[in-house]
Amino acid sequence: MMRKRAVSLLLAGVMTLGLAAGGLTGCGSSGNDGAEKVRLMVWSPSEDQSKDSGEWLQTCCEAFADAHPEWDITFVYGVMDEASAGEQVAQDPDASADVFMYANNSLEPMRNADALVRFGGKYRKQIEATNSQDVLDTLIMDDNLYGIPFTTNLWYMYYDKSVFSEKDIKNLDTMLEKGVVSFPFVNSWYLPAFYIGNGCTLFGEDGKDEAAGVDFGGENAVEVTNYLIDLAQNPNFKIDDLGSGIAGFRDGSINAMFSGSWDSNAVKEALGDNMGVAALPTYTLNGEEKQMYAYAGTKAIGVNTHSDYMVQAIELAIWLGNAESQRLHYELRQVVPCNTELLQEEDIQKDELVMAQNTTFSDTSIIQPLVNQMNNCWTPVENMGKGIRNGSVTHENAQEQTEQMNEAMNSDGIS
């Protein structure tokens, strides 16, 4: 009893304090020279705010404040990486940032929570003018645009230039003859690349038709499964799991691996000048060359529908996504830009990593479907990879196992 009373007293005390504090700030006089007082909360990954990597976010936000003397802006910075932002904002939009960065695969939960501002009118025109349609498509749902893209998010190929020539890297099987290749075989973000290459589809042509379902079955998919079984047994092929690929680069036992920009510094350190980056190769299936296709997404800047300062928040989001901010992001943190004007500039054209990432995006990738059903597509593919690795999927049961995978991908898991 005592305790209960103590706690409720404490709570009451805290509440009064909170109210008092709120009241006090509410009564504060309104700024210098009649400038409108604005409080904007901004979320970004911690590297964007750390001194060691140049405080990109602070620099850009201050430049924004300087460009808008009519607003007296107080910035509140929070740390939230793009991958978790979607979930956090969807969970409680009210207590989330006004402007935040998110990975486009969390678009759907945030849309369901009605937390994302739709960009329209002059803002949309402005965004459309400086981004390719492919990139914008990753942020468009039912014709509404939900964010300002600032980088693409996908994987491609790192290789050792002393082992493979420019010609070799066009085809995976040629590469396997000359050196050791590692691929995240048991990771379902990577493995579908082979299936999609041989005509398997996810949710219709554009990946937005939930009713169309997944087509990872049929003769073409079985062919791929058979190819993968042989691939896994190739002595020059190593399965990349738990960081074994990058470790292999370090000790020289692996000559090519598949990953994204997050590993570029480690690869650079391991290979030095021999580091090569390229779009995905083709693979040879029954004598025919098939292109591998990665799942592609983007990272974007979004605005919270619950923001108290809507105009300022949207203006800031546009600012953070413009060419200058993207250039600074690239210079400070090697974040690959996607602004079409910026990509035309000479020094960026010369950067292999930028070019590989963008070529992969435009030529050897499909947009990772955003529909809810996509959630059922990860585990079955992962199990297929694991089954091939541990030998439970063989040429004899490949047909049956592939059909099972397809069935699992098309069911909602509750049957």
Partner: protein, 290 residues
């Protein structure tokens, strides 16, 4: 004849002991294996999360140094202090709650005693994180999810439900003879005095146990800290920090530091245990005359 028998019995015992000790040694190695591996990894000089050899090729202290000096992205010292503060406060509070509740249920008789114990039992059947989102929204409604108040919020979350875990301490108190209490009452002790001057000194092992468990809960908790901290990186606890080190962007460069952090978080618990260990033995010795 008899001498031979003794000899063979001795021999048999020797063989038995050898077998038992070999089995125990093998099991001990298996159990300690992962811990040894984490400690070795924390001193490993090679980077990355994957290595092809079991023993590191070269050793270094850099992982520990980096943990405390490279604070721009993951501020480990701050997380450590946050967690220590939260854990100490909630340890004191919940130890008090648990012991006080146990004492009341063991010694006092009141109408709600039985219903309370039943209710506690049933509530205890539900996992704590079931109410996680609800707890978050309640804390948000009273304004405890911003800035330093997050610490207060976490302390409340960790210690608030402590009194439901009275069972073990109550069981221990029940074993202390009621006669001791009655004697004290006759001599003019209040209930509070009986609790602090008689029951507690007689129950040192259970006090130690309660302190240890109520320190470890908040010290190691991840799920509530993650839900309540959100984007306030200055309030992060160690568990969140360690988890972040394993994300795909950081794992390659931070993995060995992660192992170092994992070793470090065991230090306060070990220290607390070593300090309190001697009270384990004391217990009832010499207090109750036969």
């Amino acid at each position: 004849m008899t001498g031979k028998k003794i000899h063979s019995a001795k021999k048999r015992r020797f063989i038995n002991n050898t077998i038992v000790h070999t089995v125990l040694a093998v099991l001990a190695v298996i159990w300690v294996f992962p811990i040894v591996w984490v400690i070795l990894t924390s001193f490993r000089a090679e980077k990355g999360s994957y290595v092809s050899t079991f023993l590191p090729q070269s050793y270094t202290l850099d992982n520990y140094i980096r943990l405390f000096t490279d604070t721009s992205i993951l501020n480990f010292p701050q997380m450590f202090m946050n967690t220590l503060f939260i854990a100490i406060c909630s340890c004191i509070l919940s130890t008090f709650y648990v012991l006080a509740a146990s004492y009341c249920l063991s010694r006092l008789r009141f109408k709600l005693r039985k219903p309370y114990m039943n209710m506690a039992m049933i509530l205890g059947l539900f996992p704590g994180f079931m109410s996680m989102i609800a707890v978050y929204f309640i804390l948000k409604a009273i304004g405890l999810t911003e800035g330093n108040l997050i610490k207060l919020a976490l302390i409340m979350v960790y210690s608030g439900g402590a009194a439901l875990g009275f069972q073990i301490a109550k069981g221990f108190f029940d074993t202390i003879p009621l006669a001791v209490d009655e004697a004290a009452l006759i001599d003019g002790c209040t209930r509070w005095q009986i609790f602090t001057k008689i029951t507690l000194p007689l129950s040192k092992p259970i006090v130690v146990y309660t302190v240890l468990t109520s320190f470890m809960g908040p010290w190691l908790d991840f799920i509530f800290a993650k839900v309540i901290c959100r984007a306030n990186s200055d309030q992060y606890t160690i568990a969140i920090g360690l988890w972040r080190m394993l994300e795909k962007e950081y794992i390659d460069s931070w993995y060995t530091c992660f192992a170092a952090g994992a070793v470090l978080i065991s230090i306060p618990i070990a220290a607390l245990f070593l300090y309190m260990q001697r009270y384990y033995v004391d217990g009832l010795s010499g207090a109750v005359k036969g």
